[in-house]
Symmetry: D2
Subunit: 390 residues, 4 copies
């Protein structure tokens, strides 16, 4: 057997997204016929003990306590960034400058300006770059894309998309990093909104202008960590201010004339991962819901009387990526969206082309985020910047 090309990965960070990425690297060669395999070379984190435990658990060969050291290592081909948002730019730019390929969690940056600098860096270095908008890679979403590309829906008139959660509704939930703007860069908008903006860009096209509102329903929270929280209700004397939004809602016009409504919230009781959209076109419509991510609801103009949304279980060999897994009717889960995006990344590095979504998508996404924020501030419609370079 011909030896496989190895892509040696160095990952910065190791929390939830680190876990999802690590698993994808491990599992990808099992499912996909590939001449390229990722090697879990090293992960970096500041807490030596914690990072070592994570490495052992997830199968990484070595650890670093400084991401700069990771980037310097010449046994690393690809830097994967799964750290809080305020560190993305510095790491990505440094990695690109030494010629490493870069895979970065979303949102790309803390600002549009920062995102543009990141794009400039990877372009200048000529490295492969991707942003981890994993939901594009659910087979049902890829199939939706295919239907739209084939013109099955015709001209698009509407998209309505939500990403609704409810984990933050307890007033005693602590002031974690995600709730401090200086670290997270934003609240639900950057965390959840960025995903549905990406899905809209992927499926409908570029945004033209937006008008939105944001709200922080609970304005002060106890100082404490997630670990404290898991032990029981935090009865702290110290309370700090939440500096990000609990919900962000906006309406949009797309360049192709479509209208959109978008809603991200952590205050939507009963919605654990309510990442959903409906798209209406001239000839058909589609609906998707991440909580049952294998299904796509499709309505197509059809024989009168026989019209209706059909529930397509996107586990058939005709559905994108589905043939890599199990027989029809046997579902895949959340983690497979990461395996699928990793398959694109590996393929791109191996074959020398840049897969989508890339840092340009990151920049365009950031432009929408920034326009929404500006719109909230100015209480008016704001055009989405088209410039991807300064």
């Amino acid at each position: 057997m011909k030896p496989k090309k190895q892509i040696r990965v160095g990952m910065v960070g190791y929390r939830l997204m680190g876990r999802a990425h690590s698993h994808a690297y491990r599992d990808f060669p099992f499912y996909f016929d590939t001449d390229t395999i990722p090697v879990l070379q090293a992960i970096a984190g500041r807490n030596e003990k914690a990072v070592q435990i994570a490495a052992d658990k997830m199968g990484w060969a070595s650890v670093e306590t400084d991401w700069r050291r990771l980037i310097e290592r010449d046994d690393i081909d690809l830097i994967d960034i799964v750290t809080p948002n305020d560190t993305h730019a510095e790491i990505a730019i440094a990695a690109a400058e030494v010629g490493k390929h870069v895979f970065c969690e979303k949102p790309l940056a803390m600002s549009l300006e920062q995102a543009k600098r990141m794009l400039e860096a990877v372009n200048k270095a000529g490295v492969i770059h991707m942003i981890c908008h994993n939901y594009r890679f659910a087979p049902a979403v890829q199939f939706a894309k295919q239907l739209i590309e084939e013109g099955r829906l015709g001209k698009i008139y509407h998209i309505r998309a939500t990403f609704l959660q409810d984990w933050l509704m307890d007033p005693h939930f602590p002031l974690i990093w995600r709730l401090r703007k200086e670290v997270s860069g934003g609240g639900t908008l950057g965390d959840l909104g960025a995903h549905i903006i990406d899905l809209a860009r992927f499926l409908v096209g570029e945004f033209s202008e937006v008008a939105g509102m944001m709200e922080t329903f609970i304005k002060k929270r106890p100082i404490g960590s997630m670990t404290d929280h898991l032990k029981g209700r935090i009865e702290s004397d110290e309370w700090g201010e939440v500096t990000v939004d609990d919900a962000a809602v906006f309406i949009a016009r797309f360049k192709n004339g479509a209208l959109g409504t978008f809603e991200s919230s952590r205050f939507s009781k009963g919605n654990r991962a309510g990442n959903r959209f409906e798209i209406n076109g001239e000839k058909g419509s589609i609906r998707w819901d991440m909580e049952n991510l294998n299904n796509l609801q499709v309505y197509l103009d059809d024989e009168p009387g026989l019209q209706g949304f059909r529930t397509i279980h996107c586990t058939e060999e005709e559905h994108p990526y589905a043939a890599a897994y199990w027989p029809a009717g046997h579902i895949i889960g959340y983690e497979h969206t990461f395996i699928n995006i990793v398959s694109e990344l590996m393929n791109g590095i191996s074959k020398g082309y840049n897969p989508k979504p890339d840092f340009e998508d990151g920049v365009r996404n950031q432009a929408v985020l920034e326009a929404v924020e500006e719109s909230v501030k100015t209480r008016s419609w704001v055009k989405v910047s088209e410039a991807i370079h300064d």
Copy 2:
């Protein structure tokens, strides 16, 4: 305007089914373009006060306290029988003998032999006769029939049908007439099973043989009335034996080779009116559920990748009976199944043909019921009698 032909109705009984039939007669001319209108001429019941209240409430012009008197009246064209099952045969035969058309609630009779005598009587008299299997007349069910007739499903392989309820699960629920075999003729089998047998005969074809089981989960109940029950838990000293089944389950072979499973139960918690079926054919499948009776789920062999059950909201003008009501998307309810069957009955009487389902259907249904009972007794497969005459 040309005067409409009046069909003068005399109804025996006035409880739940009487209410459904009365409403249908009243509402039918509003919805349907018709040259025939039913006149609510008289109802009969033994309790003079109660029957008068019912007549006033439901709009009947007169009352009788003896159904024989009703049948004697020459201002009555049609006798509608909504009494307990032990009285159907006597009333229907008497009505036919004096030349009245007959509309009878299901199950037709207490036995196959009795049902055959009823059929013989209406045939001999040459009157119009129908049995009230109203669920055939949900637009979604009629549309299912149309798809099957057109061959859209191809050869039928399977039907699985249930009629599940849960109103009898309280052990203190009283021993009402439905639970005494001498009055009701049977338990869930005749009450609920008769409906799904009819749907199966309508959609799949004739039964060939059956094997079944029945169970009475709660064998003794307090003596008391429905009225007592509605006042609160009955703490009676007197308990009587339940002489009918709480659940009846059977499997069947059809003449065309299809296999069926059937289940009627009053002990299926959470199912208020779980009248549901799925039919699988060579080229497609359908699913229906009375609790959302406007919807039909339809799967048809289609372009690979685009296959899935489609939810058809049978409120389009292409769907049977739907054009008589509201615009697409605006649902109809339970009562409209009765309006639709009444439209067939009126049309049949007016035009002089006998609509389906008729007493022959009643006989064939009774033959299945009797075969199931026999099968339960003998613990073996039993052929369903094909003879509709003695």
Copy 3:
């Protein structure tokens, strides 16, 4: 039996809404125990032949070809207005001035100013007045209201509501009155948006401010009538301009701090009557969809592990209005929302109090509509007027 009080109705107009109202008057006494019954006294319409046919079909005792004549008649107690929107104000004010009670279709008027004049007129005359927001009267919606009033959802954070249709998507569909602003007063906003604004006001509370957009996707349409359209594709040489919106989308803040998104469209393929909402509160959430209007999805904080949206089939005796109809599990339809609102109207007239929703609700609804239109024009947030009098 005590004679029932008769409320003699005169209805202006007789198209779709006229049909829905007529049926409700006829059917109400059958279902509800009432000492008041509506009498279908007269309908008015300009086309004598057409109005006579409608009267015969729907059971009205007499006709008028001028609504002014109807209002003059002293054998009429209640004027029911189901005409195009540009005539509501004149008829309602004239009716009130001669002391008739008034029941008016939505939206109340062509402008906020006009709506206020109507409210002033009915108040001055001291007559009973209602606006026909029938969807409030689906048992599931009433039950939602009850849960919210009881505090089961806690503080409300979000509402997202749509009313999506697709009957206008054919570019050859003619330029009917609904598409000419001078007659209809507006497009989807007034027609569909008014309904979801009413549901939001009913369930969440008063609007504070709005920001929206509107679009006319197809700007010119052939001159022709609905009748022409039903005969086949209109190939007219004459095309006229559509002067109303095909879709209206807006976001809103409520006085109680809740955030809302609203979307009305006639260009949402596959949605025949997509009148849907989800409301998220501090302790629970609800979802409703008119296409299965008997169901309410309810999520309540519950034992961990057992949390989930429950599908409540609002046909139990505990559900508002449901006891008037059929046993649990047996659904009602679109028309019953009208029967229920008529029951309130009859009760109000009989007992001498003014039921909700009334002309004040009409004014408040109009204030939201006007704010949305202003917002679209000015491309900014607009406060919703609180004044209900000039």
Copy 4:
């Protein structure tokens, strides 16, 4: 870090189930905190080239072309049997005799007698043994079990279960090994029926007696392989007889008095993996569907008006196995049922106890299968054998 205990696995067979098992061994240590890890030591298959390709692809360290050689190797602790059913007994007994633990695909054997011999062998050898009824290990199914054990459903009255597929409906589909009784031991009954029998035994209890029917809808098929089939329609001159059932339907009584209906079919168009059940108890009901395997529908007696089936997304930390994976709302797939059962197997071997389901479950399952077959032959009810030893 303390070194982990290694369990060295030797697997016989490498098709679909081999792939599912292999993946589970690989993925288990990533998700579960464990002191035991499986080592993919060797796989056996007769075709040297094919088995080597499979080993490389799935990560097995070595290959054997004779399973006997695999069993002889002293670097193997556990034999995993994923071969056609006619080989299970010989391999399992040989493995046990040399002291290997045994994990075997279902159905356990070709006959009840064979299954008992297998149980006797593992018992005599004192090795750990499991049968791979993986669907027990969907979190939703485990949660259903927990609810039943806690008495939340009360006494069980009904189960209705199906496993419906449609991959065999093309008359040109070839006569593969699954369709030849001498290799497969049976058709849908052993393949699909065995799964739903196991779920019923797990959730409801032991079977008492059964009555069933079987059908082979298409009796002759072209001689050819799956590989031929994938190339296009097989136009073979040689046709052979299908010796197994295409569908098996039976009804059952359980020892605790519950009634069951069971249906396995490969002729249920539109059902790719219709493994579904509903269980009705005295106080509640549950519904599950493998095609959306994360969801459990639960109905519990609750406050009147608020009763309804709730859709529980079994991805919360309270749900069995769910904490090992992703945050609430993020689904897992088919493969995780295997990871979960492997976690039990590893734990059992490590801690020295025998997890369920084991060979005793295999014997009891086989007793039901055999009773159904006997019932089909004799056209009568057949008692299910309780003896697990000869």
